[in-house]
Amino acid sequence: MSTTEKKFTAKGGAFLIEETPAQAVFTPEEWTEEQKMIAQTCKDFLEQEVYPKLDEIDDVKGNPELMPQLLDKSGELGLLGTSVPEEYEGFGMNFNTSMLVAEVIGAGYSFAVALSAHTGIGTLPILYYGTEDQKKKYLPKLATGEWKASYCLTEPDSGSDANAAKTKAVLTEDKKHYIINGQKMWITNGGFADIFIVFAKIDDDKNLSAFIIEKDFGGVTMNEEEKKMGIKGSSTRQVFFNDCKVPVENLLSERENGFKIAVNILNIGRIKLAASTIGASKGIIANASQYANERKQFGTSIGSFGAIKHKLAEMAARTYASESAAYRAGQNIDDAYEDMVAGGMDKTEAKLKSVEEFAIECAIMKVHGSETLDYVADEGVQTYGGMGFSADAPMDRSYRDARINRIFEGTNEINRMLTIDMLLKRAMKGKLDLMTPAMNVQKELTSIPDFGSDEDDSLFAKEKKVLSNLKKAGLMISGAAVQKFMQKLSHEQEILMNLADMLIEVYAAESALLRTEKLVGIKGEQACEQQINMSRLYLHRAVEIANKAGKEAIFAFAEGDEQRMMLLGLKRFTKIDPMNLKDVRRSIADHVLEKQAYEF
């Protein structure tokens, strides 16, 4: 970042109401030599250890030892300790570097799930909420992979509604132990975990508490491996705690603080999941473009057909938007952390607070990344045609493994609702002034429309105007919805989904544009032809989605004059100059086909 400019400090959710200078965003083109080497190590590991064994890995019943062995090997390389501070035998890397690791490993199918469950939801609760003794005891073993971790939140009757969990903890008479009883399900790494982070209610508490349970405490049993649609190599078990005796010192954080731990750890998990979907998407693009070059029909490679080019270009552009947004948010988290530590905050607390600050962006990225991957996987199968349906070709696994990402770490529906909920809460707490810009939009609605007389012909001037209008559309409709429903807005889930869609698209499209603008500043327009194409293509998509979501929301709650006024406003705020998107897509696709990879 240029030091001569006034430092721009990003705030969570503020992208909706302010303009971010391109110089302030981090772009993946800025990775250091060291970070690139780390990424290469992850890639080499997948190529050497994971890809040759994909079928064996997926046969989790036949080879139950294989996944823990792979985790051991990745532990030897240090891949399990990226986020763990050096004093606990980790490497204390910053947040964006851990995102990069998640991205590259994300192309590793079930192995990616095992690794991220261990390093994320398995390790982080102890790192962020553990006492010094707990950290000293567990973190070095987790960072090296000597012990494997899992996270037990979900129960048969409590999934998205985590606080409804029934698992109980009762203090023994001598007050030295908790006796834990209950049943947890969908426990990733359950089959081989040594450590379980378990959420349970102490006595008749209203809220959850969290415990670190070692398998050797006794009373831990489990069902067979679950039969799943995808990520078949990831060990997924039901875990039962029957009079499991847990020393009181293994209570994690304070009593009844479990829900907060779960939420904060999930914030991190969500954006890391987005990083991982980017890696998976890139892997599919590489395979699909290679296949499109090789497969001949009607005497020519199918990659020469417009219908296939359309797919490849969309796959690339959506991945580009996701990637731009994920690392933009990742850097925001790193910067906020540095600022908080510089301001005297404890490092552990700063880690949590910095992610919490950008919880909206984390939820947005979870949805965007997983839905991009699902699209990419689906079109990957389609590009392969009949071979896409064959279990001997790579798309079968990619397609099945992609699907879970829209479900775990909070379903996309929960995350969409959270996005709006958190945004409104931040506004109510005075952290985000949504009111003034929303009022301004109201004023603008009743004034003469701006016909775009300004002559700014700099790169992206028009696109920025479009983006600024999209934000207005979002503010107009959410403002009206809040006025209409007040506290009851949370019951209008359909409208919340629409509003979230608008917000998600604004963030993704803006991030792609900002990244490209910054790159053009460094490399010039000519060298960034495809990035410019992808940003513009994506912006058109964002406008389409915002327009559709906006209409649906308006139809759902506004009537008469108000409806007419808002529909006019929406039309005005989702205006975009026509562009030959067919040609844009062909150009992007030709590049992808030439590189046979997502490589720009």
């Binding site: 060291e34 080497m37 780390i38 190590t41 030897e76 390389l77 891949l79 490497f91 490589e599």
Partner: protein, 245 residues
Amino acid sequence: MKILVCITHVPDTTAKISFTDDNTKFNSDGVQYIIGPYDDYALARAVELKEASGGTVTVLNVGTSETEPTIRKALAIGADDAIRIDAEPTDSYFVAEQIANHAKDAGYDLIMMGRESIDFNGGMVHGMVGELLGLPAISPVMKLDIEGQTAKLAREIEGGKEYLELDLPFIAGCQEPIAEWKIPNMRGIMSARSKKLEVLAPSDASEAVKLQQYELPPAKGDVKMIDADNVGELVKLLKNEAKVI
């Protein structure tokens, strides 16, 4: 034991090869570079030898500053320090001269490298360095153990294998299965930046061979399928069209 490992900086094996300047220059645009795969085996074995019985491993590359990421990777894999001789590696003789000039008074017990690079595949540098230093040079070394001042090695020869024994120092041109490639670990990567990478000016040396022009192999032509019963047609085509008989 003091080991020198010479590494090349070569296009990734999947790189698309093209040329510029009227086919006289390799087009490096968008090309990813790696440590020469055979050199990578040599480096892996050198690191194993050091880990087993102590000593140091120095990596050397003759190249411009563009090769430094490749050198850093070698440091991350486990070399202790590095030397870059700041020159465009024009031909095998030039490179061999640079290596020999540096190594002649540096007291290495063993000089290892790949049996050949994978860009120009000359496979000559180890022999030339041996000649220039007056030391034995052996290639391809596929197994290498050191006992005191003696090296025991194996190489494949036409129709079989031979086992050799010789005194240090000598030059080894290596290939698999001398060791398995090492993936740099996090600790290695993080320590690589603080390891010494010395840049030396090239010594006076001239190239022995000048490159005139490159040419890509002709594109694969269409395949004609001829019915197995139609031998006459096949012979006719081989004679008149392919002109091979």
